[in-house]
Amino acid sequence: MNIKWKDTRLIYLVIFLVIFGTSLTPITLPLPVVQWSKEFYKVIDEGVTVSVNPDNPRHFAGVKEGTRVMILNSGETAKLWGDMSEAVKAVWTDLRRRGAHILLWSSSVDNQAILDKYLIPYFYGLDPQSHSDYGVSFVDLGFVAGGNALLEQWRTSLRAITPVDRYGNSLADIPMMQNFDAMRIDCDLIIGLDARGLESIYVIRYNTPVLEMGGTDSAGYLALSYTAGYFQGMIMGQRGGAEYEFLSGIPGRASAYMLNSMAIALIVTVAIVVGNIQYLMSRRET
């Protein structure tokens, strides 16, 4: 056996072993709730007043029976699902519990496929169209191509360019969609799944409350919209899921992910510290 300790491949083997090991016995660990998660929950629970456009402040009273919520599954949800799954489940459970009317749009086929496999059957069974909620408190537009151009059109009329849902049913005939057409006024709350561009289309002009969910690293490119005041709250990664479960009291398994992150972070930190001590010692010697 010929082990080469400088072989970088070993790093990945160790990561794999740690993840596997920590998954065998997931333990709940203490975790502080970060500010953007607290605000996310507060918006859903109590509401918020948005005044990015000072001429027309908009008050949202929180999610209640019949609140029209649009979920824009339009970022990298499919690629980040393993880091978003528990948070999306917890928030969706909360929305249903409060009686929200949920309209779902997927911007790409993979985003639609990931929710079809891991989320929609969990809430609406294998044939969502036949579920009692369908058309009453949930409508799925499915994958519709067009991205931001579509969102631009939808602000004045959804049905003008997208007349049917994913199953071909006319939106005009669906009970839930009767007062859900001009998104700039008809939509009470937008929740973006790693979605971008929402601040320009909906917040700056219409003060629509927008919440955002993404992977842990989505914060890197979404922080702009939170810090600048466009997004009213964010839930990021499995950690965000654990925070939401804690805040809402909805049981889940997001906290199982914390042990793995902690173990890897510890190993990496120790390796960086040891490497730096070695570096400083070698510099002194020379």
Binding site: W36, G82, A113, G146, V268, G275, Y279
Partner: protein, 208 residues
Amino acid sequence: MGQQSQTNIVQELPTILGVIGLFIIASLYWTEPGWEGALVIRNATTLSLPFATIITVGLLIRRHARNIIRREETTPYDAITIGSAVLIVLLGLVGGMADPTMAALYANVNVIGTMAVISAISISVFSPMIRIYRAKTPIMGFLILLSILALFTYTPIGEMIHPAIPRLGDFVQIWISGASDSAFWISTYIGAVALITRMILLKERLRP
């Protein structure tokens, strides 16, 4: 001389029309509900996007087919790519988009495989973190400390050591990193406006 300037105008025509067109479309942002003609063009473009995607898929398949014809080293893999694409198309044509076999293959192979590749590429960042994060300059030392702060903030370690650690990390992420992100993106937007200005001055050309 006259002929030359005429040729120049013909060459610049797509750019001139493009610039005029983009300002007409851009004006929709500030008009409610917007000019009818511009709205029709915008919505027509949106609805035409599936055709462009179909062509992209066609070009991809053509590339793999050429590899097979040329008997490149990758032929077995090209055959798998084309074979699986054809299989999915056949399933779709027979069963429609609701075909459960097609949906199952897509969700369990494509979506999962893409997620795995993305995660593999991204966690490879741990290797350079371990190997080259050395405090060779004060700034580098500062950045290493910040990286460790982020690791401690977004895992339970920080809270277990001292509650002030995640609070500090949260502060850095929201107020410093967030503002820095703003500066980065807004500078990009300013760059885009500069590019459009160059197009107006006919210093850049619009080409497909």
